[in-house]
């Protein structure tokens, strides 16, 4: 038996789930990660410590284990076992938030301290300093590494297959189980991943070039 259009279509649907799961992970991770980045540079030592503890725990745990924890762990503490998509989504949100928080904290802190000072001396509130002076500058710095990290998220969604979620990698595995042609099947799977990731990394590179040259 060999690869048929039906198999390719099955893998393509898996690719769509990969994109969907990446989007969930990235959007959820951005919201949570941005709050964590703000907490990391907050004037309150308690907030700073909480955020840095959260980031260290998440970054020090393999995503695979995080996914298992959500999928099986929540059932243990009495909640009904989560559907695979929810567990995978949550796991990726938590994972991305910790890394995005650190990337963005770095970008916020790379805006010279004198910019904070100048804004402070114009009687701007902390919120105004952040939104009107620091964030617009930090966002320019952050765009390239953020898009770069998006590629990591896409590739890491393949781990969601361990909780039985049928995304691109899992779709490939299922197809291979029926036709036993691992090399052909996973070449196709790899091609799909590449088709998703390459435009992102190319975009990230071009953003980086633009930022290195120009002011805006």
């Amino acid at each position: 038996m060999s690869l048929t259009p039906v198999h390719i279509e099955f893998i393509a649907v898996g690719a769509l789930w990969t994109i969907g799961l990446s989007a969930v992970g990235f959007i959820g991770g951005s919201v949570l990660g941005f709050s964590m980045a703000l907490a990391r540079i907050s004037p309150s030592p308690l907030l700073r410590r909480l955020a840095s503890g959260y980031i260290q725990i998440v970054q020090g745990t393999p995503l695979l284990v995080t996914l298992f924890l959500f999928y099986f762990g929540l059932a243990v503490i009495g909640l009904d076992s989560l559907p695979a998509i929810v567990a995978a989504g949550l796991g990726l949100v938590i994972y991305s938030s910790a890394f995005l928080a650190e990337i963005w904290r770095g970008c916020l802190e790379s805006v010279p301290k004198t910019q904070w000072e100048a804004a402070e001396c114009l009687a701007l509130s902390r919120w105004q300093r952040m939104t009107r002076v620091i964030l617009p500058q930090a966002m320019r710095i952050a765009t390239a590494p953020t898009v770069g990290f998006l590629v990591q998220i896409v590739k890491n969604t393949s781990l969601a297959s361990v909780v039985g979620f049928v995304e691109l990698a899992q779709a490939g595995k299922l197809v291979n189980n029926t036709i036993f042609e691992p090399f052909t099947v996973f070449i196709v799977v790899a091609a799909f991943y590449f088709a998703i990731c390459y435009p992102l990394s190319a975009w990230s590179r071009s953003l980086e070039r633009k930022l290195n040259v120009g002011r805006r």
């Binding site: 004198t114 100048a118 009687a123 701007l124 002076v133 617009p136 002011r215």
Partner: protein
């Protein structure tokens, strides 16, 4: 005469390094004070303490009625009364010249866009840069950027202006154009404290010169004191400059 700024017995350390060791001086309205001294003499730190950019260890600082030494100081209220211009300009690179100036009046004083724009044009005209309103800071020379920084402070209509070595990064020609703006301000009656290395300017414009040495006010007098130093340290400092 009520003092605009009054420092009494101010001490400040950075870790084990004592930077200010009991600094006291008063400044009246419309006075122009030049603070001179060698690097590390504490003059910039003293200026930053006046604007609460540094917190002092002991002593008292009164600025336009604000108790700067008080832990309960309302910093934003203080900064509405005090403008500061830095050596490195610190314009906001992502905003145009006009937007740089309009930011504080619209954020802090809730000024409408048209009114803020008119104000920006008014202060830009004062520093002679009206035609640069829609340029970005990086398109300007250092001297022009510094004049924009002065205009940005002026837009908040401060009662006191602080200048922290504002010409130290500029060549003599650009220095001249910035000093002319400051001289105009002084003539218009603005209370000013400037930390400076421009001795000729201090002599000409300042109503009082303060020479700081090793964290203390070493010698105080009118501009003419620079021609006739009373202490060995000031005369050494002045001769090293030549």
């Amino acid at each position: 005469m009520s003092a605009v700024v009054s420092l009494s017995n101010v001490h400040k350390s950075f870790g084990a390094v004592k930077v200010l060791k009991g600094v006291s001086f008063d400044i009246g309205a419309s006075e122009v004070i030049a603070v001179i001294g060698a690097s590390g003499s504490g003059k910039s730190t003293a200026l930053r303490c006046i604007n609460a950019l540094e917190t002092i260890d002991s002593g008292e600082i009164l600025v336009c009625g604000h108790k700067v030494h008080d832990a309960a100081l309302d910093r934003r209220a203080l900064r509405r009364d005090v403008g500061i211009v830095f050596q490195s300009y610190n314009l906001f690179p992502h905003l145009t010249v006009a937007q740089n100036i309009m930011l504080a009046p619209s954020c802090v004083k809730n000024m409408g866009k048209a009114e803020a724009r008119a104000l920006a044009e008014q202060v830009l005209a004062k520093v002679g840069l009206l035609e640069k309103a829609d340029n970005y800071p990086e398109q300007l020379s250092g001297g022009q950027q510094q004049r924009v920084a002065i205009a940005r402070s002026l837009a908040m209509q401060p009662k006191l202006m602080l200048f922290d070595e504002v010409t130290s990064a500029l060549d003599p020609q650009l220095t001249g154009e910035v000093l002319r703006v400051m001289e105009d301000l002084a003539r218009a009656g603005m209370s000013m404290i400037l930390v400076t290395h421009e001795m000729a300017f201090a002599r000409k414009v300042a109503s009082k010169v303060i020479f700081m040495h090793q964290g203390k006010v070493w010698e105080t007098g009118p501009g003419a004191m620079l021609d006739n130093p009373q202490t060995k340290e000031l005369s050494e400092f002045l001769s090293n400059g030549l």
